[in-house]
């Protein structure tokens, strides 16, 4: 591993890694059962340099903002490296957003270059939002079919310059990436992450979960997400490890990839982890009685032997068939993006497959706490990583309060949102909006949220104000969307739901026709963003002088209603 304390920027560290590990395999790309390609670091460099040179020849200046909207694949990483090599600022966007949402963020970030895939660009180009994206000067698209209409874009594969591109140095305090933690509605939250944020986070994470040449990381979470960017790109690359990309995320091919490529680490969202648990449990239940008894016996021995810390070699011998189903080399599954049920974590740990659950926010780099497995604690999100200071603000008698964090991994601020930044980072402390307590051993337990938002099992942050626009034409006097757990605080982070509060026009009632109209509006949202129920209110909503709804005051009013009877399911 490179000594990152010696580096000023992501680009400088990656540049040296490409030379240091020149002959190691850096990327494997598979499409269903076919392996498409396998490239070494030297080859990666030979593909990235012509792109970087072409960007420079086209006038790409330091600090130019360039966005990538791509599925997980080699060209994502090659493009990102080229941007860093040129001293640019990367704006990684979620390929799963709608074209309209992607345009909103492209405009908000002021990106002048976009690198994307042909199928994504086809949708973006057809969107009416394109006309107002005046800052975007150049679009490069990958894998466009021959003779395809490129809608004004250029082919990524043909955009190549000749000669070595001069490396453009950046400083630790310079912005490396603008990462959107949420907000495609009224107030996009573009986290400005510095080079130092990433360098420090990488040192902290790899001290617990190291990479080295030969380690294979399966990249499933979208690379625009902070976790995959760190453990599916920067972390493995500065250690000479291999990243495996799949061009499809069908469960059968993901399962096959573990065995085919002898995966060492993989990051998953809780939904996928639960799916794996369900599949395994089903197979255990189908075992003949004698075999099942034997399996349960061996598992109980494994539980006893791994109480204080994991013992991978022993677990693999005791429960060989289970480990072989994961390729036999799996050291740890990393789970992130949302709350994971403790019983799911324990299920895997008891099989000798540790799940590194943790807690993080885009605003704080990748992770704030991670389970160090010494011993494994399924009921917590682990201890603060080296360099992270965590405190509980104004704890109640039960020790519960808002989680505050201070470290070198905290973002520089929200793009174009100085007020929001000062509200969120106070005297160097990031106010997370999450509620938790630190136990006597320093483990953090999360118990709920203080903020009006939900996180889905697929790791998506949904803010009510971002989805309200679709309900604007409802025939009601006024409406407001809430996270149900914000209104009625729960000591739980599972099964979070959104509800819409409706104030009907005088004399009207909540009819089946209105219910259908709410459903029709709801169906215009992506499935994970949809509301689950309606709450009817009879008084005018409290508003500010500028007529904005006072959400917190309204929430207090809604909270006086009984939750179970107040929410009318859709």
């Amino acid at each position: 591993m490179l000594d990152l304390t010696q580096y000023q920027s992501i680009g400088a560290a990656l540049k040296d890694a490409l030379d240091k590990f020149a002959d190691e395999v850096c990327l494997i790309e598979a499409d269903r059962e076919k392996e498409k390609e396998r490239i070494i670091y030297r080859e990666f460099k030979s593909r990235a340099y012509p792109l970087a040179r072409a960007l420079q020849d086209a006038g790409f200046a330091p600090a130019t903002r360039a966005s990538i909207i791509m599925t997980n694949q080699s060209k994502w990483l090659i493009s990102a490296y080229s941007i860093f090599h040129c001293g640019g600022i990367l704006v990684p966007l979620d390929y799963k957003l709608t074209a309209s949402e992607q345009w909103q963020l492209l405009k908000h970030s002021d990106a002048s270059v976009l690198i994307t895939e042909y199928p994504i660009w086809r949708l973006l180009a057809a969107s009416p939002e394109r006309r107002s994206a005046t800052s975007l000067k150049r679009v490069l698209i990958t894998e466009a079919p021959p003779n395809a209409d490129l809608f004004g874009a250029e082919r990524w594969e043909d955009f190549r310059g000749s000669g070595e591109p001069p490396f453009v140095p950046r400083l630790r305090k310079d912005i490396a990436c603008i990462v959107y933690s949420s907000g495609t509605g009224g107030r996009p939250k573009g986290c400005m992450m510095t080079h130092e944020n990433y360098l420090e986070q990488c040192v902290a994470l790899t001290s617990l979960y190291p990479f080295w040449p030969g380690v294979r990381y399966l990249s499933i979470l979208p690379t625009n997400h902070a976790i995959d960017f760190m453990v599916g790109f920067f972390g493995p690359f500065i250690c000479g490890a291999t990243v495996v990309h799949l061009r499809t995320l069908r469960p059968e091919y993901v399962r096959e990839a573990f065995t085919k490529y002898k995966i060492t680490y993989a990051s998953l969202v809780p939904l996928v982890l639960k799916n794996l648990q369900k599949g395994l449990q089903q197979r255990f239940d189908e075992l003949p009685p004698a075999k099942r008894r034997m399996f349960n016996f061996l598992r109980s021995i494994n539980v006893a032997l791994t109480k204080s810390h994991p013992r991978p070699a022993i677990s693999r011998r005791l429960l060989g068939a289970v480990h072989q189903a994961f390729g036999g080399q799996l050291r740890t599954l990393i789970v992130g993006g949302a709350f994971t049920e403790p019983q799911t974590l324990q299920f895997f740990y008891d099989l000798g497959i540790p799940v590194a659950n943790g807690y993080g926010l885009t605003e704080a780099g990748t992770a704030i706490t991670v389970n160090d497995l010494k011993p494994f604690r399924a009921d917590t999100v682990g201890k603060p990583l080296p360099g992270m200071k965590v405190r509980i603000a104004d704890p109640g008698a039960d020790g519960i309060g808002e989680v505050w964090v201070r470290s070198k991994t905290i973002m520089a601020g929200y793009l174009n949102e100085p007020e929001l930044t000062t509200e969120t980072i106070v005297d160097g402390w990031l106010h997370t909006g999450d509620l938790g307590r630190l136990d006597a051993t320093g483990h953090l337990q999360l118990v709920g949220r203080k903020k009006n938002m939900i996180v889905t099992e697929e790791g998506k942050n949904i803010y009510p104000e971002d989805i309200e626009a679709v309900f604007e034409n409802l025939p009601v006097k006024e409406f407001c969307v809430f996270a149900a757990n914000y209104v009625w605080p729960q000591r739980s982070l599972s099964s979070e739901q959104l509800v819409i509060a409706l104030h009907l026009a005088a004399g009207s009632t909540y009819t089946e026709d209105l219910r259908q109209k709410v459903i029709a509006c709801n169906n215009r949202l992506l499935n994970y963003k949809r509301i689950h129920g309606v709450v009817l209110l009879e008084e005018d909503f409290p508003r500010t002088a500028s007529l904005k709804i006072k959400r917190n005051v309204l929430a207090e009013r809604v909270a006086r209603l009984d939750r179970a009877s107040a929410i009318l399911p859709l």
Binding site: R32, T71, Y95, K96, T98, E117, P119, I120, R247, T248, L249, R250, P251, E252, L271, V272, N275, E457, E458, N523, L526, N527, Y528, R530
Partner: protein, 80 residues
């Protein structure tokens, strides 16, 4: 060659069988996430079944953002 109507009906029948829903209760305009109560992984499993049934490959990008049977059937039809 199937018509779009035939393809749509086969999609509905296969989804009903796969998720143990009474035949005839699904309609082309239905949102399959809500109607079947499934998550995104189960939807991907359903796509694999449909691919086998129609002997086609549906790249993930083709079904990105699709949540109703009608659009799904149209995407399948375009690849038949």
């Amino acid at each position: 060659m199937r018509t779009l109507q035939q393809t749509t009906q086969e999609v509905l029948d296969l989804a009903a069988t796969h998720f143990h829903v009474p035949a005839g209760t699904l309609a082309p305009e239905d949102d399959f996430f809500k109607k079947l109560g499934i998550d995104s992984l189960q939807a991907l499993e359903m796509l694999s079944r449909l691919e086998n049934h129609f002997a086609i490959e549906l790249p993930d990008f083709e079904v990105q953002g699709v949540s109703d049977f009608k659009t799904l059937a149209e995407r399948i039809q375009s690849r038949l």
